[in-house]
Subunit: 316 residues, 2 copies
């Protein structure tokens, strides 16, 4: 049952039926009634894929994510969806596992018109590569693209990181452990962290107190355990998540050790419960902006300020 069947049965042409379906142009009241009656009677609905093909537009936005289940991504996706839904767009989830080949595959699917635009919440592909693909649809990344002319919405971390390190400095903490999810070489977040550190302390972070493979509570726990085994005893942990900081705390608690100072990120519930100072990156807003860039096909950079949220860990 397609539009031609309806045309035949109602005695009009398929173009008139199309007009009725999309209420476009002028259609006589009689034709409209006749056609709508037939549509009702045969319970006809138009095929979305045929429409997409004909229009050259899918109303789908691809969203590339290395993994779900982590606050950065869930907040971002939620932000994107909150803007996409009212605009009549849908989100297609594209899991990447940080694998550049998989990412390239998705980028090629943009060329193939599988979606109208693509948002990279994270990317292993060099930014330069993206430039060639911009002609096929809008591409938005969620990191600072530097001088590259590519659409981006991202958390501006500098100031909040500096604020956090300034606070650490003011408290005169000496041994500063840093827990991150990915190594300096591949992670602009790690680079920003180091940069802020250097600006405040005029030195590099202590490599012995650095771990760049942390993504979960358990990872935080184990990292703390490792430092303790090596007898490093940090005064404070600057971590990549409140949940991570909670893992560090848990290790000390379980072993009856004094709990070091902690700084989290992402403004998660665990930080609120345990009164851990944190950094809120406002990813929800970043997601919203990313979506808007995607559909408006604007090549702009939109930084979103992060904020250091101080909490008095003593109160715990």
């Amino acid at each position: 049952m397609d539009i031609h069947d309806i045309a035949k049965i109602s005695g009009y042409s398929s173009s008139t039926v199309s007009r009725v379906i999309n209420n476009r142009n002028y259609v006589s009241e009689k034709a409209r009634q006749d056609i709508q009656r037939v549509i009702k009677e045969f319970d006809y609905v138009p095929n979305e894929v045929a429409r997409d093909l004909s229009k050259g537009k899918t109303h789908n936005i691809g969203v590339v994510l290395p993994h779900t289940s982590h606050p950065y991504y869930t907040q971002l996706v939620e932000g994107i969806m909150s803007a996409a839904f009212p605009a009549g767009y849908r989100i297609v989830m594209l899991p990447s596992k940080f694998d550049a080949d998989i990412e390239m595959n998705y980028l090629n699917r943009l060329r193939r018109k599988a979606y109208d635009a693509i948002i990279f919440t994270s990317h292993g592909i060099p930014i330069k590569e993206f430039l060639k693909y911009q002609q096929y649809g809008s591409i938005v990344i969620c990191h600072n693209p530097g001088d590259y002319n590519i659409a981006a919405a991202y958390a501006e971390r500098e100031e909040s990181y500096k604020a956090a390190f300034q606070w650490i400095q003011a408290q005169k903490y000496q041994k500063i452990a840093i827990l991150l999810s990915r190594p300096y070489e591949v992670s602009s977040t790690a680079q920003k962290t180091f940069q802020a550190y250097r600006q405040i302390f005029n030195s590099n972070p202590d490599k012995r107190l650095l771990n760049t493979k942390i993504t979960t509570f358990e990872d935080g726990y184990n990292a703390a355990s490792q430092f303790h085994k090596e007898n490093y005893k940090p005064d404070i942990y600057f971590t990549n998540g409140d949940d991570i900081a909670a893992g560090v705390r848990q290790f000390h608690l379980d072993n009856n050790l004094p709990i070091p100072k902690l700084i989290g990120q992402e403004n998660q519930l665990s930080g609120k419960i345990l009164n851990i100072p944190t950094i809120n990156h406002n990813f929800h807003k970043v997601g919203k902006l990313a979506f808007e860039l995607a559909i408006n096909n604007e090549i702009k950079q939109l930084p979103v300020e992060s904020e250091f949220i101080f909490r008095n860990q003593e109160k715990l």
Copy 2:
């Protein structure tokens, strides 16, 4: 630049080009080389939408969710994606806000071939309605469908709920507060909870200690505050999430009140940190099974057992 252009330029027909692209049937080595050279030279890629239309298949699975950002949904989505990715399917997120009209809209998009199958992680539409739509593509729900012949993967909560209430009974707690997300009338989860309660205590839960509008930490906090204001003082809270239980705890902490016993659900990090007993519903597995039902077009029911995880809250 479409398949016909490639055909013309290479001197073969579009069907031979199609064969090369999809490496199907027999194509002479020479033709393959000739055609592939032209494809390379003109940097041609096939259009995904045209292919979908022609094949009548999109490789997209719609996933309806009332909201993201809650553990039930994120775990479920992750489970679905973990199975969908290796199978070459993509997940289209369909936010519903618990609104049956929006859900119906998605169901109709299944008819319109916008996706090959649809998974309802939650549904306001009566199950009966789904039956009519099964002819248009496979429909999977994530709740027990009872006697209806519809595909379903879901958490089997009975035993774990009973185990939790049995434990409460064994401890001789009297005043049992219950916090849920949605009211008895519309929520099968609430119904299961009550049913388990009745089986253990031979009575209905105390309505004065019931709140069915709880979804966040803050809601838990406020519910506790409300009960306290009304001077009800529950011995124990049976809640719909570890985060919720943490909210209840926080209220008592902030007001220097003795912390009541707590039972959470979802096996969240907050429960782990605070040593709150919980119920793990294994939603990741439910999601995986839901996806498999969706693509295999099997109309089966697959319950997944939940487990009561006991923790000694005293240890906190």
